[in-house]
Amino acid sequence: MSLSPGIVPQPISQFPWRIILLVVAIGSFGLVVLYSAAGGSLYPWAWSQGIRFFAFLAMALVLSRVPEGFWALAALPMYVVILLMLMGVEALGAVAGGSQRWLDLGFIRLQPSELMKPAIVLALARFYEMLPVGEIRKFGAIWPAGVLIGLPAALVMLQPDLGTALMITFGGLTVMFLAGIPLRLFIGGALGVAVMIPILVNFVLHEYQRNRVLIFLNPENDPLGTGYHISQSKIAIGSGGIFGKGFLNGTQSHLDYLPEGHTDFALATMMEEWGLLGGLFVIAAFAILIGWGIGVSMRAKSRFGRLTAAALSATIFFYVAINMAMVMGLAPVVGIPLPLISFGGTALMTVMICFGILMSIDRQSRQVQRW
């Protein structure tokens, strides 16, 4: 895992270099895709994304030096701060007369909803760590978690941002599942959701969100409207074949048939040129990364560390799985980018935070071993 001591200073040799190299590999491949999406140019996407990528990687390395205990102590206060920021965004939006998702901090436009994805995991892990062992099968183990998930999810839904609300909910539910909440509740819940979906679609979702869901169910109904995204994306992936059309040879992306080819539909841009092999490479790379995360959780010594590591890995998993399913026409278009590959700083930041905390927990477990 680490380089031999003596040549490099210990803090640096302690970094899990293999997994960092994997992340760098995925990110670099993403830059190659963005280079092609811009028609063979570093601008406007690849160059700035490259800078962001390495900046956030550096941030992740810094986060990995933070002791696990700090995350456990800070989990709930951070959750509260971010929840307040979410409310602030909502209030700002109401004042400005429109929906707003970000706070302008000058150097960055911060989306609190994005930060909530790791924060909810940390807060719930902390909550279940503090919960006495015997309490897990009682109602007292469920309702506070429900409140912790429900508040931010509802605020994000108001923005309205279905994709992020779903990811916050999934992240929280994952912690609850791992914490040992009885399985029958999840099965019952899943059945309940299955019943609720038609009601949600008809009464809660916004017009455009409802349309996306309906069109997902039958994209051919609307080949030039919202269904256009899915159809063109499938054409890009399908026409790529096994080996792809070759670097810079994609027609769907270069001739603008594929909308959002550098952000949400970057996978389609990539697979048109790199084919099935490119797609399988990305799946395999993320599988290794997520598998490593689950491994970290297994090795973690504290309950907080275990729950956090597994749920943060799951958060990365949700990003990848929802995006890929959406791009390949298996899920509605909900606006979730492919982490480390799609252009944009927000998702990159979230994933790097997750990665940093995972490395921090990993470091803690190895230090404990050494004792």
Partner: protein, 677 residues
């Protein structure tokens, strides 16, 4: 307890984490499977879709097939056409571009309005026509300024050209841009390609499939917004087929010019094969200006003309054939077993019931036999024969000679007239046939109606006794038509009768050929278009010269030559000519056309001598007429404030389709026949 609980919890966590990992792994497999499905199993389909996204086909109109005469002289061909189009997607500033083009191309406000409307409707790279049929100077002026005119595309294409102009207007028809209905009917992108024209009338319309050809195509790569990226490949067009007609271009032009300022028609047939050598209806529109998109005022002028230039009189004009049916009736009389030497006394009138039927010669012809009856066009002879035999014994012969028949010619509409008999009258009017009906029909009046083509067929069939069928397309070898089995003695008698009309002191002396060894045989005819009242008859029938144009008699002539072994048959029908001008009457016209067939130079010399008397060639007269019409309109406009042309451009583009509808096809001519007493 707590430690055991913690251990259990850790165990439970590991189990659930593995479960989670398992679910995640399963999802990964599903995603990988989906990828494989799309890119391997559906690869072909999506590759096709990607290609059809990427590649766009730009069509270039095919060169239209030529229409040539029997000697391969073009009647319709293509000339180079300079045109300017706009590619909407590449135009940066529409208004500025139009403003720049307007002075260079001398666009009218009508043009500008049309271009604006078209630009609003058009999208992407489908060109919008700006102006076609440009002269080289304007085309070059646009071409040199291209760098500042993004999206303007000057192209060299082909436009239809009719060397004989109005002389082939009704024979060939014309072409034009596809109408909305045609586009709905035939959903072919070629129809909206700028510069593409399809047949709108006449042969151009009926032979469309042969003449059109295959469009050329340019495969270009385009973006989702229709921007052109690069050209991939081009395929040249396949020109349409050449269509060869039986027409003799020289004769056709000669006939058109020789018709002078008449409203009339000439048909010339080959008596042996039925080949149509000339088929002229004048005055006619100029198909060149129709094909370029005729101006509103030119259209108005043609529509208002009482010489009906928009109607093809050869196939759609129905006339009482008058005395031209007499030789045919004479054949019927012969076939009824009556001797040509049998005589009838003509005293100027014949009493049928309470009505008196008059001969055109008030004093009467005295004793007339068949030859004298035909030569002098004695009405009483035919009245008497019809009264004795009944018209039902004439009608079969009349039909056999081709009246009332519809010929299979490539034209959208024909009117084919009426051969009346007792069964026909009973069916149509629920009344029995009377002797007066027979008497009327016997001189080609009453219900009898025929078009000029049928009269020419009649002359040709009488001349040779062959069952000729007129044909226009020279596509397969055509042997002489079979004999109809008429007694050669009878044919000889009819030829003799008709010879006498022209050469034996008959009514057709004016048609005598100026050639030493060739003689013409024919028959004159005059058809009244108004009732002559008893009072008028008493006070003296008004001469045609005193009557307005519309009330003058039609004059007709059918003939064949040489009289002893006929080769060519002709019919000349002049509407409302009334015999008021000798040079332009049927006799001299038929004479000159026949002369052309045997001694071209002599006929041309005669024409050059006569043409100045009626104002020159048809092109010159059409131009003068247009000028006068414009002047009159300008004068009329000067008085009241000029009306604002609301949608003038749209109106102009509708003219062509209106022209196609102007001649309403009437299949059952009896329904709308023009009665003549």
């Amino acid at each position: 307890m707590a430690r055991i609980g913690e251990a259990a919890q850790t165990y439970s966590f590991s189990r659930r984490a593995l479960m989670l990992g398992g679910v995640q792994g399963a999802v990964a497999l599903v995603l990988a499977g989906r990828m494989t499905w799309l890119s391997v199993f559906e690869n072909e389909r999506y590759q096709m879709l990607a290609e059809s996204n990427r590649v766009n086909l730009t069509l270039s109109p095919p060169r239209r097939g030529w229409i040539v005469d029997r000697n391969n002289i073009p009647l319709a061909n293509n000339r180079t056409d300079f045109r300017v189009d706009l590619i909407p997607d590449r135009v940066e500033d529409k208004e500025r571009t139009i403003a720049t083009l307007q002075p260079i191309l001398r666009l009218t406000p009508e043009d500008v309005a049309r271009i604006r409307t078209d630009l609003k409707r058009a999208a992407g790279f489908r060109p919008v026509p700006v102006l076609e049929n440009l002269d080289w100077e304007r085309f070059a002026a646009v071409s040199v300024r291209l760098p500042e005119l993004a999206g303007v595309s000057p192209t060299r294409g082909f436009a239809r050209n009719y060397p004989l102009g109005a002389g082939v207007g009704h024979l060939i028809g014309y072409v034009g841009a596809a109408s909305a209905e045609q586009l709905k009917e035939e959903k072919n992108p070629l129809l909206v390609t700028p510069g593409f024209k399809l047949g709108k009338d006449g042969l151009e319309k009926t032979l469309e499939a042969k003449l059109r050809g295959q469009p050329g195509a340019k495969r270009v790569e385009v973006t989702a917004r229709g921007k052109l990226v690069r050209e991939l490949a081009t395929r040249p067009d396949v020109p349409g087929e050449t269509v060869k007609l039986t027409i003799d271009a020289g004769l056709q032009e000669y006939c058109a010019r020789r018709l002078a300022d008449n409203s009339g028609s000439i048909v010339v047939l080959d008596c042996l094969t039925g080949d149509v050598l000339a088929m002229v209806s004048m005055p006619a529109y100029d198909p060149n200006s129709f094909s370029d998109g005729i101006s509103q005022s030119e259209w108005k002028m043609l529509a208002e003309d009482d010489h009906v230039p928009l109607m093809n009189k050869v196939l759609q004009g129905l006339y009482p054939p008058g005395s031209t049916v007499k030789p045919m009736h004479a054949l019927a009389i012969l076939q009824a077993g009556i001797s040509p030497q049998a005589t009838v006394h003509c005293g100027g009138a014949l009493q049928v019931g309470r009505r008196a039927f008059h001969c055109h010669k008030r004093g009467g012809h005295g004793a007339v036999n068949m030859e004298r009856a035909v030569a002098q066009s004695c009405d009483i002879y035919f009245y008497a024969m019809a009264r004795e035999l009944g018209y039902d014994r004439f009608a079969p012969t009349v039909r056999q000679m081709g009246l009332g028949a519809r010929y299979d010619l490539p034209y959208p509409s024909q009117r084919y007239g009426t051969v009346p008999d007792s069964a026909w009258k009973l069916k149509k009017y629920k009344q029995p046939w009377t002797v007066a009906d027979s008497v009327n029909a016997s001189i080609g009046q009453g219900w009898v109606l025929a078009n000029p083509l049928q009269l020419a067929v009649m002359a040709a069939r009488l001349a040779q006794g062959r069952e000729i069928v007129p044909r226009l397309l020279l596509d397969k070898p055509h042997p002489p038509a079979p004999s109809m089995g008429i007694d050669p003695q009878h044919i000889a008698t009819i030829r003799q009768c008709m010879w006498a009309v022209v050469n034996g002191g008959g009514t057709g002396g004016a048609a005598r050929l100026p050639l030493p060894d060739i003689q013409i045989a024919g028959k004159t005819g005059t058809a009244q278009v108004r009732a002559i009242t008893t009072a008028e008859r008493r006070s003296g029938v008004l001469g045609n010269a005193q009557l307005p144009f519309r009330l003058r008699d039609h004059t007709l002539f059918v003939a064949f030559a040489p009289a002893d072994n006929p080769r060519y048959a002709i019919s000349v029908v002049l509407e409302h000519h009334g015999h008021i001008n000798r040079n332009t009457d049927v006799g001299p016209t038929a004479r000159d056309v026949m002369t052309y067939l045997f001694d071209r130079d002599r006929a041309v010399a005669t024409l050059h001598e006569l043409e100045p008397t009626w104002g020159g060639t048809y092109q010159e007269r059409l131009a003068k007429q247009a000028e006068a019409f414009e002047a009159a309109r300008a004068a009329a406009r000067a008085a009241p404030p000029p009306p604002v042309p609301e949608d003038a451009a749209a109106a102009a583009s509708n003219v062509a389709s209106a022209a196609a509808n102007a001649t309403v096809p009437v299949e059952d001519a009896a329904a709308s026949q023009e009665r003549s007493e």
